[in-house]
Each structure stands twice: as structure tokens, then as C-alpha cells.
């Protein structure tokens, strides 16, 4: 076990993509948390106070990201928007994953009519293009924090049901689970001991990347001015409020959008790196500094591969 976790850490550390992702995600999560914990005192300027004497300034040392058409500091606005973007995206993914685990486990374990109904529903919801469905719901429900989260959750849960159900189906088809069932193990016992430990890692990996997608969709809703309350700072909304200034002051438009991009990239790089490091089938073919992974952590020398030695 300890060799295994040491090996995994080695793998993650050697992977530039996932290290970049980890650092980026950590920085943004810490910033968002600090902003919430200090009740918005992290921002160097008041993000909403207009100062027309300092309107449309380019990025500088006093205003890291410059100021917008009303002279409000863009850096402060970005910091103020972080908890909203980060918080909603994480909440949406966590709730969807929980719904997915619950429904997917039930459907995969009990099969039959229940499974059929759940999967039909899942397929129908999956047929809707992501942004368009949450757009319609958010527009119907009207702007509020809860409504916009709900509109995203409605679109987000089906893929988790599918993921979990597939994994549970595969696990319950294993011989050891049949034996466990024959020994009169309860549903709860099998789920807790056999199904969940097999399902959770893949859900976790998928969810990491998925937080990025949720953030993209959320900020697109913000860009379209749907679902986010008027007084609430949100990165996509910031972008759309200055797009008409694109040719004159491109930095005002590009900077908040770049922040979204870097955050999303952080989550997806981290998820991608995790997925690859957890993939046992790839292990024999990954080399770190020219050496096969198995040897580094003192495991068995792995089989030869037809690849040239390469650093990951």
C-alpha cells in the first residue's frame, strides 16, 4: 500500500500537466476561500465603487488588471467574482455526483424496471445541449444563486448516473460479489464494501475535470446575462459588460476571460493527470527520466515495451 501510494505520488509529481493543474487549482481555491473568510477584504479596491478620474486605465502596478469604463479596479472585481464562480461550479458537481452515485448504484444493482426507467430519463436529459438546457431553465426560473445552480444541476447529473451505473454493473458481475450475495450479504454491505470503493476513484477523476466544464457553462450563462442576479459579480458577466469596448480596450475583455480559462485549464489538467496516473494499464509504458516506473518504487521490473524511452 505504501509503495503504491509512493508510486502514485511519484507519477503525479513527474507529470507536468497535473502539477500545473494542482498548483493552479490550489491558488484559486485559496484565493476564493480567503476572499470569503475575510468578508471581501482581500480586494485592494472596492470592486463596485466607480472612480471616473481613473477610467479605462491599462494594467499597471497600482491596478494589476487595469480599470474598466467606470474606473473600477478589474483585479478587485475578479477576486470578488472568484468565490461565486468557484463555489457554484463545485457545488453543482458535488450535488450531481451525489445524485449520480445514488441513482447509478440503485440502477446498476437492482437492474430491471427501475434501471430501465432511470436510464431512459438519463438518455433524454443527455440529448439536450448543455448550455442550451440550463439557459432555458435559468431564463424560466429567473435570476438567483439557487436557480442558476439548479439549472446547471439538471443538466449535470445524467452523466454521473451513467458513469456510476456502468461501474456498478461491472463490479456486481464479478464472481466475488456473486459469492458475497450467495452468502446473504445485504445490499448496504455490498455497496459499501464492493461497489463504492471501485466506483469512487473514477467519479473523483471525472468530477475534477467536470468542475472546469461547470465553470465554463456558468460563465457562459453569466456572459449571456441569464440566471446571475444583477448585483452579483461573475466573470462571464464582467466580460459581456465591456465587450462593446473590445477594439478600444481589448485588455478589459480578455483579462477576466483569461482568468476563467486558466481556472478551467487547472481543473482539466489535474483531472487528466489523475486519470492517467490511476490507469493501471498504462503503468508498464510510463517512464520517468528514462526509467520504467515499476523499478523506481522497488516493484517488479515491468515487461519490455516497444517505445523509445521518454520523459513524461
Amino acid at each position: 500500500m505504501s509503495t503504491e501510494s509512493k508510486r502514485l505520488r511519484r507519477l503525479l509529481m513527474s507529470n507536468t500537466l497535473s502539477m500545473f493543474g494542482l498548483v493552479t487549482v490550489a491558488v484559486f481555491v485559496v484565493l476564493a476561500l480567503l476572499e470569503v473568510l475575510t468578508f471581501g477584504r482581500l480586494t485592494p479596491y472596492d470592486p463596485y465603487a466607480p472612480n471616473f478620474a481613473a477610467a479605462n486605465l491599462p494594467p499597471s502596478l497600482t491596478h494589476f488588471f487595469g480599470t474598466d469604463f467606470e474606473g473600477r479596479d478589474i483585479f478587485s472585481q475578479v477576486i470578488a467574482a472568484l468565490p461565486v464562480d468557484m463555489g457554484i461550479s463545485i457545488a453543482v458537481v458535488v450535488v450531481s455526483a451525489l445524485v449520480g452515485i445514488a441513482l447509478g448504484t440503485l440502477a446498476g444493482y437492482f437492474r430491471g424496471a427501475f434501471d430501465e426507467v432511470i436510464m431512459r430519463l438519463t438518455d433524454m436529459f443527455l440529448a439536450f445541449p448543455q448550455i442550451i438546457m440550463s439557459l432555458a431553465i435559468a431564463a424560466t426560473l429567473g435570476p438567483s444563486l439557487l436557480n442558476v445552480s439548479l439549472s446547471l444541476i439538471v443538466v449535470w447529473w445524467p452523466s454521473y448516473v451513467r458513469l456510476v451505473r456502468g461501474a456498478v454493473l461491472a463490479v456486481t458481475a464479478e464472481d466475488y460479489v456473486s459469492v458475497s450475495k450467495a452468502l446473504n450479504s445485504s445490499f448496504q454491505y455490498i455497496v459499501r464494501k464492493d461497489a463504492l470503493p471501485n466506483v469512487l476513484p473514477s467519479v473523483l477523476v471525472y468530477a475534477t475535470t467536470d468542475i472546469g466544464s461547470a465553470m465554463l457553462t456558468l460563465s457562459t450563462l453569466g456572459y449571456l446575462n441569464v440566471g446571475i442576479p444583477p448585483a452579483m459579480p461573475e466573470l462571464g458577466k464582467m466580460v459581456s459588460s465591456v465587450t462593446y469596448n473590445l477594439y478600444l480596450y481589448p485588455s478589459q475583455v480578455v483579462i477576466p476571460a483569461l482568468v476563467v480559462m486558466v481556472m478551467v485549464a487547472g481543473f482539466s489538467f489535474l483531472g487528466e493527470g489523475l486519470r492517467e496516473s490511476l490507469d493501471v494499464k498504462l503503468r508498464p509504458h510510463i517512464r520517468i527520466r528514462g526509467r520504467v516506473l515499476g523499478r523506481i518504487a522497488g516493484g517488479q521490473p515491468e515487461q519490455e515495451s516497444d517505445l523509445p524511452p521518454a520523459t513524461v
Binding site: N225, L246, E272, P308
Partner: protein
Amino acid sequence: MLLGVALIVFFISHVLSPDPALLWAGPRARPETIRAVAAAYHLNDPLPAQLYYYFQGLVTGNFGLDPQTGRPIMSEILFYAPNTLELVLASMVIIIVLGVGLGYLSGMRFGTKVDSAIRLFYLTTWSTPYYLGAVVAILAFASYIPLFPSGGNGGVGFSVAPTTGVFVLDALLQANWLAVESGIDHLILPATTLALLSFGIVPRIMRSSILDTRWSTHVKAARARGLGEGEVRRKHILRNALIDTTTVIATTFGWLFSGTIIVEQIFAWPGIGQFSYSAIISVNYPVLVACVFVFTLGVIVANFLADIIYPLLDPRITLGEGG
């Protein structure tokens, strides 16, 4: 399937909202307007009756009148849809060629610098919001380096009779070469932008299915039988990897349609995406519902096409086996 989707749209548009009439009439409508709208769209009737009218409208292709222009929504959609189709299909070609190509290259060069570079590229473009990508594309290739026009579909100033509604195709059919050139010129930038921002998942799945296949026993067996490397790669690795990739390409349509809302608006492309954007901005609810339905229909058709393509790729799957 289609029935279920229609029911969900009905639920969102008629049941979910506390006061649908207010939504359909717009936020600043006078009370008498709201009452008139409620009567015109049968919003005061009991739900089963509303459901009946809703399905009657769908089956006859009647989405009602656009409250802002007064024209039937269906005819407006028929005007905008071909333009979106043109944009989406052009992007799809780019996605398939680039996505499959890069994914294959990345998988076959697993662990090399080429692999890392390709992954960095598609993960980054995938993480880019549509509004950023489109804006940067316009700034870079239409403003700073003026290679392409920044907006429109190139139809302005040409009198090309709309036979199919797709401008480039119409111009081709009528051998109007200047119009064809203008159309393609206007198409390149938005189509490439849309494609690059949506395609990330295609090379990603292609790469992982290549990795799943290339060290599998059946490929080893093929090599052991003495097949040439080229044939092994083409028939045993590439073809196998394409099966999963086809599914993903079909789901990419969903992202493409979502993307058109932003990309068409920024590039001033006269399609459904821009139509729905203006519907959102001007709180034109009936049009928005119709657009949601059209987009979803597009995704369903794409998935259906993918189901038809499977048996061609995978000899183990045959159609009509009660699947």
C-alpha cells in the same frame, strides 16, 4: 425519445415557471397584454389542454407567432437554420480531421514531447470559453492581421437566390464564383474558432482508445501473424479506436450547438445561435423555447447518424438486433 424530450421542454416552459404568461409576455408587459398573451397561447387552460395544444403545434411544425416581429417562428427558424448548419458542418469537418489526426498521433507517440504538446494544445483550447476564443480570433486575424472579415456570412451585396438557404451552396449551384469566394472567406474564421473550442474531447478519447488498443493482445496477435506495420496500424489500431471516437464526435454536436450561441453572436453570423441570443437578450420566450427544441432535435439526429455509422466500423455490431 423525442416524445420525452418534448415533454421535458413542455415541463420547463409551461409547468416550472410560477407565472408563464408573464414570462411569455416579457417583464415590462402591461396586465392587459399579459392577459391577451395568456389567452393567445392557451396559458389559462388546464395543463392537459395546454399539453394538447403544445403537441398539436409541434406536430404541425407550428411554434406560434414571434411576438416581436409578428412573423411565424417556424419560418424565421427555417431562414436561420441553414446558416447554422453551414457553420456547424464546416466545423465538424475540421473537428474530425484535426481531432482524429491529433489523437492518433498523440496516442502513437505516447510519452514523447509530441504527445505532451498535442495534449497541452487540446486541453487548453477545450478550457477556453467561447467568448474568449471568438474575441481573440477576431482581434488577431481580423483586426491586427486583417486576413479575414470579422463578421457576417458573406451574403451581403450578392443576389443569390436561396434554393437551399446555405449561402455557399446556393452560390456554387448558381456558379456565382465571387459569391462562393466571399462565402468561404467569411466562413473560415468562425468555423475554425468554433471547431477548435469544441473539439478537445475528440482527440482525448481518440488518444485513450489508441492507448487501450495498441498494447492489446489482438494487436500483438496481428503482428505475430506477420502483418506489416502499416496494415496493423490501419486495420487493427486505427479502426478499433474510431469506434469510441464516433460516439464522442456525435456528442460534440451538443457542444457545437451550445457554442453557436456565443460564436454566432460575436461573428454576427445570421444563424439560430444568434437568433436565440437575441431572443434571450430581448426576453422573447416563445422564440427561445423553439430554439431549444431545434437544437435538441439536431443533437438527436447527430446521435442517430452515429448509430448508423457504428456497424460500418465495427463488424460485431449489426443493426436491428433488438438493441
